[in-house]
């Protein structure tokens, strides 16, 4: 029984290794720290820009290896997984905890120092 569970667990991982390449994420696919995503994140609720400290509190531990407030109203950091995983976390927050805030979230990122990409969410 235990061995069957173990084999099933490894097959799940092997499945993730293959299937995750069909999309933009790499969850459980053993792609450790294979990306350099420099990003800048701002959040607006109505007419008010959230302060950097509020953004940091909003998406706890979201930010990868080195995130911090670089201005009063934005957070910058480096993320080491595919950018879609960062977006997934922001989306999940905004669709659940932050659903009633109707926030506008702007994420500007550069994957491996390529051209900047803007991703905007209107809550």
């Amino acid at each position: 029984m235990g061995t069957a569970v173990g084999v099933g667990f490894l097959l799940f991982q092997l499945g993730a290794v293959f299937t995750q390449h069909l999309g933009p994420t790499r969850y459980f696919a053993w792609a450790p720290n294979d990306y350099v995503v420099r990003y800048r994140l701002t959040v607006r609720e109505g007419d008010r820009e959230l302060a950097a400290s509020e953004i940091l509190a909003r998406y706890r531990h979201l930010y990868g290896v080195s995130a911090g407030a670089t201005s009063s109203a934005s957070v910058e950091g480096v993320y080491e997984n595919p950018p879609q995983q960062l977006i997934d976390q922001i989306l999940q927050y905004e669709r659940t905890y932050g659903r009633k805030d109707h926030a506008v979230v702007t994420l500007t990122y550069r994957l491996d120092e390529r051209a900047p990409v803007d991703w905007v969410w209107h809550g």
């Binding site: 235990g2 061995t3 569970v5 173990g6 084999v7 667990f9 490894l10 991982q13 092997l14 993730a16 290794v17 390449h21 790499r26 969850y27 459980f28 696919a29 053993w30 792609a31 450790p32 720290n33 294979d34 990306y35 350099v36 420099r38 998406y59 706890r60 531990h61 979201l62 080195s66 480096v78 995983q85 997934d88 976390q89 999940q92 927050y93 659940t96 550069r110 994957l111 491996d112 120092e113 390529r114």
Partner: protein, 364 residues
């Protein structure tokens, strides 16, 4: 509780787990407890499992996980139900990952997975599942890098140079070198993957992997959380460890007597057979090799569970900016082992050449 007790943290024999597996899970448990991982266990937040972070009782989950991890970690260290305790610690880490996307890191996933599989160990299937876990990791890592254009083109390293502390060093590297670096990494991980699959190549693959990951630590200055500790510990399941055929011949009156007596006393698993001799310098006699003096000492240390546990106990709590120091030590040991292996292969050739010269000289 004495050193000789069945529950001594330094003992890796006499339990339901093979010595290599018990050493690996002990290293992981120790690193987990000393690396501030207990405090990092999350409250459910942005969970992978829908609804898990909105459970009314979710608030107590971190406390439950902390208690489980602390209890199971200590049980592993003191040889109390080590297989069950590995299952509990591994499961707790995996539950923590499922309960919070922000807690997911590859190092935690690997540590949790290995401990979980160690908890499912059975004599019938032996080390297969644990070896497969490490092989799946290298397969996934190789495949991902191979399929990412930025790894094949070297663009990843251009970006890495921008965010690393060595921007000026990277700026001096010609653009044409970055693809070579990218492909070197891909091929190194592919070689480790292939080597771990083939029994005859397991040992060189393990040494390559230890050197590779320790070099990454030297370059980046990061252990990547638990990764360096857990991955290196997991390689124990690929080696015939510990070597049980060794005999240590030592002189109880030599200048090394204090060190020898300590090593003898710490060999509580009786990995070596210890023989005193009034004339011998410290010598380790293997099946085919004799290692004297410092080389013998190194052989004893590399086969001593306490040496690995002491290393982790000292290094795991250190702030990350000190991580290069132990990495340097590991690379130095690897260098000595490589030099030793090279000289052992060279010596017969030199003896053969000397004999040939003598024979031809006597004929002349």
């Amino acid at each position: 509780m004495g050193l000789e007790s069945p529950h001594s943290p330094l003992r890796v024999t006499g339990t339901s787990l093979p010595p290599a597996v018990l050493l690996a899970v002990k290293v992981m448990a120790l690193a987990f407890l000393l690396h501030n991982q207990l405090q990092a266990l999350p409250a459910p937040f942005l969970s992978f499992v829908p609804g898990l972070d909105s459970l009314p009782a979710g608030g107590i989950l971190p406390m439950v996980l902390q208690a489980a991890c602390l209890g199971a970690g200590l049980c592993i260290l003191f040889n109390l139900w080590p297989r069950l305790s590995s299952l509990v610690l591994g499961t707790a880490i995996l539950i923590a990952i499922l309960s919070s996307r922000t807690y997911l890191e590859n190092n935690r996933f690997f540590t949790g997975s290995f401990l979980f599989l160690a908890g499912l160990y059975s004599d019938r299937f032996g080390l297969s599942l644990l070896r497969a876990q490490v092989i799946v990791l290298y397969f996934g890592a190789t495949l991902n890098k191979f399929l990412e254009p930025d790894w094949r083109s070297g663009q990843f390293f251009v970006a890495f140079g921008q965010v690393s502390g060595y921007h000026s060093v990277y700026a001096m590297i010609p653009d044409s070198v970055f693809p070579i670096i990218g492909w070197s990494v891909i091929l190194t991980e592919a070689a480790i993957f292939g080597g771990l699959l083939i029994p005859a190549l397991r040992r060189p693959a393990v040494w390559l992997a230890v050197g590779y990951h320790t070099s990454l630590l030297m370059i980046s200055g990061r252990t990547f959380g638990l990764f360096w500790f857990a991955l290196l510990a997991s390689f124990a399941v690929f080696l015939d460890w510990p070597v049980r055929s060794g005999e240590v011949v030592f002189n109880p009156a030599s200048a090394w007597r204090l060190a020898t007596a300590s090593l003898h006393r710490l060999d509580i698993d009786r990995i070596f057979q210890w023989t005193s001799s009034p004339v011998a310098t410290l010598t380790v006699l293997g099946k085919t090799t004799h290692r004297r003096g410092f080389a013998g000492l190194l052989t004893i240390l590399l086969n001593s569970p306490w040496a690995y546990l002491a290393f982790v106990a000292v290094v795991a709590p250190l702030p990350e900016h000190f991580a290069r120091l132990p990495a340097l030590l590991v690379l130095a040991v690897l260098g000595l082992l490589a030099a030793d292996a090279f000289l052992r292969r060279l010596r017969p050739l030199l003896v053969q050449r000397r004999t040939l010269v003598q024979v031809s000289g006597s004929r002349g």
